[in-house]
Amino acid sequence: MTAVDPHLRVTRTTCAYCGVGCGVLATPDGRGGAAISGDPEHPANFGRLCSKGSALGETLGLENRLLHPMIRCDKGSMERVAWSDALDHVARRFQHIIARDGPGAVAFYLSGQLLTEDYYVANKLMKGFVGSANVDTNSRLCMASSVAGHRRAFGADTVPGCYEDLDEADLLVLVGSNAAWCHPVLYQRMLVNKQQRGARIVVIDPRRTDTVGEDDLFLGLKPGTDAALFSGLLVYLADNGALDRDYIERHTSGFEDAIARARSMAGSAGATALATGLSEQDVLAFFQMFANTPRVVTMYSQGVNQSAQGTDKVNAILNCHLATGRIGKVGASPFSLTGQPNAMGGREVGGLANQLAAHMAFTPPDIDCVRRFWKAPRIATHEGLKAVQMFEAIGRGEIKALWVIGTNPAVSLPNADAARAALRKLELFVVSENVTSNDTVDAGAHVLFPAQAWGEKSGTVTNSERRISRQRAFLSSPGEARPDWWIIGEIAKRLGFGAAFNFTSAADIFREHAALSAFENDGNRDFDIGGLKAVSDEGFDAMAPVQWPIRLNAQPQARFFAEGGFFANERKARFVAPEIPALRTETTAARPLRLNTGRIRDQWHTMTRSGMSPRLGQHLPEPFIEVHPDDAARHGVADGDFARVATDYGQCTLRVVVSERQQRGMLFAPIHWSAVTATGARVGSLVAPHTDPFSGQPENKATPASIAPYEYVFRGFALSRAPLELPDHVWWARVAVNGGHGYLLAGNADLRDWQSWLRSTAGDDLAEYTDFGGGVFRAASFAGDRIETCLFIGPARDAGDWNVVKGLFAADALSNDQRRMLLSGKSTDGLANAGPIVCACFGVGRTTICDSIAAGARSAAEIGARLKAGTNCGSCIPELKRLIAQTAPNAVPQQLAVAN
């Protein structure tokens, strides 16, 4: 641990979010925040940042931050304890459970947001020294199918291409990837290519996302049929002379089986159209484009990976690139776009239950190699349980101790309610976290370790193009937060493995990681960063973004496989014949639709970070379900209303968005909301836990579902400086707003219940607007001139303008007029405003009177003649005279004389 230099200087670091891995310049403001901009020198983004990255500065606050170790005491509440007590306790409990039930009874669940060094230490401890491979990660939900597909085809988990290929390609094919929202900076690079070089873009997705540009070819295929499309493509390539026979011959095996399977599955464009639900014309257009464009990059993401046949889909894509030799060449490659900032780093250290370490597998030679390197006699010798199976084993009581590090599985796993319930069965449930509350922490964690967050921690991450970049600290650690590697190392020491965990810095760990990658490698393994195994502490601190492999004494290499050189199968790639596409589940009369899930542009995962940013909260502030107009009509749901979405696993209540962009028969819901950010929007709880047989990745995008209208009489919102405890039975979604917390609300409770709830919540300086007959209740409490809390409840479309009120809430002080009009819930910009009434009889306001004085009225009588003010009861005449005295220019006496 090194103390952070508090000087306010620019720190180069890497974004906390997606797998693009953009370089970020962070300039601390000295008050715990930082100004954020893109790093012009980083080769992933060249200075560009997306909406999420740009808003990182809004996510650095310490609200809800876990600052001290906590242990659940006998009474059930979490109590702050000393680090040593927490560590001793956890080590003792692990030791006890391992001794009693064996190493298979314990598990780690890690995160693609961990730094490589954290990942390395966790993996080493569990696999090498505890002797269990029950180390899995949220990356299982993200790109495990790509890993499995790569390994089947290439003999290693190798991404063959690099980002430059996106600039150099003539055809960019996006499969199951909404890159415009999920990898925005890469998408912008593609658009530049399109504009400047005329590259064509093809988007293959059941959903017409924002990634589809006007002049792009969009293939809105039926869900789960990607392998049929790419099998059809393989046949077309074969039948139209587009194969690279030489490449196939020299560098691959298994082509004949693969083409035979492809012919049986999609033997023609027509058969492909039938299998995928596309028009033959569109299919042919795509096939021709692909066949005729040597420089083609096929990018794929969760739409391919999150499938019970995800690995086959990946291989169906890889087959086409292998068959044309378009791999690892400039502008030509298959390309897995990873979702998380360090999914790749996790893969490199082996932080998945079916990997050992450093791209080595559970094969006897690899196990032997790693055992010797680690000096780990108890090393795990077979694969552990993958995420979904791990939580099922927890549910069955087979795994008794779990340590979750940096992730929120109670939200993100499929069948998430069952996963959450399983956590309650654990004997020991440890969470290393940044926040005091999320669904996982709230699922009964026994011990909380405060981990350093982005901006505080220091180490490396690897992006989608194998580029290792430094994440550097630019803020000091708040409270007692520690690096994850330190926490894990302290447990390892207490378990008696001190000698193997004597790390004193992230650089220490990185050197060992690099050394392992090169250990007995000799070019047999793709992952080799041996060139960095002796990097000095200073060298590590100053390390510029660098792409692997970084072999000792070898030239750098941006791409793989242009000339073959695969990592198994006698250095040959393997064509894999995919199974006939079939989703794992069937729709039924009761569940006639399929639920697709995914991300939205401005939120990230379970919103524990992005949810803190008011700017990011503006785009899509509440959880929703997108549905095709025909399905909406059939199932009686309407845009803007609410609907119950149910599957065999759970149900959610979501705002309905009716959209032609949605395919008939399909629903789409974003994954981000949890029990701490909304009610009834844990979309993971809807998802079937069926997994791919090779990758173990769940089929998150095709769960049979039903939708039915759900009526809320009242809608509305609340804004508050402090978090609110909302009444029961209210539908709400929380969103960060400038100055505090916003809540979008719906409910059926009596308005008087809202009134009494607010009165019990708000302070004494309270304004209320009640029209109970019209179904409206609005209220605001104030602290001085500032809104403290406000609540707007009304009939569906008459609850007040969220944006207008949000603007007023953000202000430090309301003017009198703003306060007067606040509870109208409407913008009063541009409305005539006469000012406070002076003449009650004729309703003449001060502003009007002053205007009249400015226009020449110089006596009460003149004002009366112009405005009637003061001509009835006359009681305002003294005030009129005062206003003349205060307002009129110096020329008054003369003018008066004239007037008289």
Binding site: A767, Y769, T770, R819, M821, C873, P878
Partner: protein, 402 residues
Amino acid sequence: MSEPLVIVGNGMAAARLVDELAKVALGRYAIAVIGDEPRLAYNRVLLSSVLAGETASHDIELRPAAWWRDRGVTLKYGCMATEVDVGRREVKIENEESIPFSKLILTTGSSPLRLNVPGADLAGVHTFRDSRDVDLLLTLAAQKKRVVVVGGGLLGLEAAYGLAKAGAPVTLVHLMDRLMERQLDAPAAELLKSLVERKGIEILLNANTARIHGVTRVEGVELADGRHLDAEAVIFAAGIRPNIALAREAGIAVNRGIVVDDCLQTSAPDIFAVGECAEHRGICYGLVEPAYEQARVLARHLAGRDARYGGSVVATNLKVSGVSVFSAGDFIGAAGTETIVLSDLNFGTYKKLVISEGRLTGAVLIGDVSDALWYLELIRSRQPTLRIRADMMFGRSLAEAA
């Protein structure tokens, strides 16, 4: 030859009547105005403003002497009319000869009620009605006398406010459980109370004045519940009574006020009454606006035009103790009505709109009265409010922009 028209009473109604007559029947009548107060007609509404030191006494004069002169009016102020001889068409004036009339208008106004309690006749017990009272009260305030004001209606509040502002320690006692109960609902009255209290006036509700203590001068006030208040002066402001003695003794029909028909004519031909002394369709109005409406109608009638007075939709629309107050129509909200309320008490605002069968039927506003007249117009026009219901609380410009 102009007909002699005599107006008894030199207040706001009289001045307005002269003004209106000059507009519609200039020269038709030779007008004489007889008033017992020793000065030109003044704006009685502003007396509290004079008391509060916000306006000079001479500034509240309604019209300068020249104005009256220009309209050929014979002003006889400081004169008491003692008798009306209906048969002879003459008004008798104290210490003077009678003056004949062909038309007589009674604008005798009203007098403050004096409570019938022991001690009510002690020195130091006053009322608050005319500019002579104001001079007296100003003297009390200058001497920092401890004053108890009896009555929590408009008049009492104004007296209390003026006295407090002029420097006297003031306690206001009110028989009812809320201030201005005839104009305000409970929350509005509560807000008004707190706003008035902020001005340093102590207010006691449910306070029934039982007796006034003192040997020759006021020393204290005893309430029915036994509470005792020190006092060096007591101001009765617990209601007014129309001045009807002159009419009654002349044999003109009176009830609470002088009974008039829709032409403002009394039971006697060519004798009319307007203002606070008049009772029209059973109602004695205590406000200036109905008096002005009556004066306007009467002037037209006297000019030979067809003019009828159908009664006023009374709205209270003024500043009470420096607080803007408006109320009109069914401000309580009868059974079957709906109410919309905006209250921001710390901000000094309370607004209530009463809706019945889709129409605005009543309103009470404290603090923010910017749209009072619009509400009054809506109440009077009985225009449907469905379309503007969502926004009408926040004013005409928002409601009509929507």
